[in-house]
């Protein structure tokens, strides 16, 4: 018969002896460590592959943003007409390009010009007028007596169909200008004769 304390001490001693007699097999230990080494090597390879992939992606992004900035950052420009009037002209139209969610000017111009050029005769869809062109620092102005004043900014001018280079136009001369149904300018060319405006 043993006391609980004695029993407990014996139990612990036997437990330690039993544990010492049943150690983890060396083969198992080696196997686990072998798998760990292999896993570490695989992990290194995968990490290196991921780094390479990340570098390639980064280079691609840098290439596309730095070397091809125009294609990524330049937003398309759109035709805008602002209508107003003043004491001198019954109607003032400011034609300019701006950034908007409509069709690009170049596209509009191409479509309009193609329709105009291919039509056998000028229809009511296109409006042809004669006016006096005056070149200003930042824009052109075309006035039709005291009825209409068009201002055309330089950015828009660069995209319009002109019969000749802008610099070949005189600082002041009669021109024929054509607008489409929306009032957007399609073409400007020198006119042979001027307007006879009624005196106010």
């Amino acid at each position: 018969m043993s006391t609980p304390e004695q029993f407990d001490a014996d139990l612990r001693q036997q437990f330690q002896q039993d544990k010492a007699m049943h150690l983890m097999p060396e083969a198992l230990r080696r196997d686990i460590l072998h798998k760990a080494s292999r896993k570490a090597r695989t992990s290194t390879v995968v990490t290196w592959r991921n780094i390479q992939l990340a570098l390639c992606c980064t280079l691609l992004v840098v290439f596309s943003t730095v070397l091809l900035p125009g294609r990524q950052t330049a937003l398309p420009q759109y035709y805008q007409i602002t209508y107003s009037s003043n004491s001198q002209y019954r109607e003032v139209q400011q034609h300019s390009v701006t950034q908007d969610a409509q069709m690009a000017v170049s596209q509009l111009q191409q479509i309009g010009q193609r329709e105009y050029m291919t039509s056998a005769q000028r229809t009511m869809a296109f409006h042809q007028q004669i006016g006096l062109l005056r070149q200003q620092q930042q824009q052109w102005e075309i006035s039709v007596c005291d009825e209409l004043l068009l201002t055309i900014d330089k950015a828009l001018l660069a995209q319009l169909h002109l019969s000749q280079q802008p610099e070949q136009f005189a600082a002041q001369q009669w021109v024929e200008f054509i607008s489409d149904q929306q009032g957007q300018l399609i073409a400007i060319r020198p006119a042979t004769g001027g307007l006879q405006c009624p005196k106010a």
Partner: protein, 196 residues
């Protein structure tokens, strides 16, 4: 504990003097150097294997041991430093073992023996008489799974709180299992019943 565990990973990698399991694991996780894993296995490999061996058999003990250590390799973040490394390791091993026993349809067999049949003194006396000299391992094998588990964890040096953490059981349940297990073994040894 969790904070100190993560800090140890930053600050203690080169501190060769500190070879606690938590430190070793932290170093292993940040470096993947198998040298740290080998040291961890020296620290706790035998204890874990012995625990599993007494709760199952040699083949399962080897399988589950391997599973546990490989889990460290594959999911190093599964240990978050919320408990001692050894406690966490035994907890993982214990859950893996129960899962495996269920897969092998051996869990039901283990459970059927519980609770310890205290109402059969004749049979117990017979066991005492015939197996007086049984080795501890054989005596342990006569205990139901949960009682053996609680006793082995206590003999392994785990505190009551650690045993509760590993087994996910309340303290009263663990105390009860320990009382039954010790009582049974003491009667087997022919000593006074600790319940008395």
């Amino acid at each position: 504990m969790a904070l100190s565990f993560y800090l140890a990973g930053w600050m203690g990698r080169d501190t060769r003097q500190s070879d606690s399991a938590e430190q070793l694991f932290s170093n292993y996780r940040s470096s993947r150097n198998t040298e740290y894993l080998a040291k961890l296995m020296v620290l706790h490999g035998n204890e874990l294997y012995h625990f599993l061996l007494r709760q199952s058999d040699r083949m399962l003990a080897e399988d589950i041991s391997q599973q546990c250590w490989l889990k460290l390799l594959e999911q190093p973040d599964s240990y978050r430093g919320l408990s001692q490394f050894k406690t966490w390791l035994f907890s993982v091993a214990r859950n893996s073992l129960i899962d495996e026993l269920r897969k092998l349809k051996r869990w039901q067999v283990q459970m059927e023996t519980e609770p310890c049949d205290q109402s059969a003194p004749g049979m117990e006396q017979q066991l005492i008489n015939t197996q007086q000299q049984l080795m501890l391992s054989q005596q342990l094998s006569l205990l139901p799974f949960y009682q053996r588990e609680a006793l082995m964890l206590q003999l392994e040096g785990f505190s009551m709180a650690d045993i509760c953490y590993i087994t996910q059981q309340p303290e009263e349940t663990i105390k009860s299992r320990l009382r039954y297990a010790r009582g049974f073994l003491q009667r087997m040894a022919g000593g006074q019943n600790v319940d008395a």
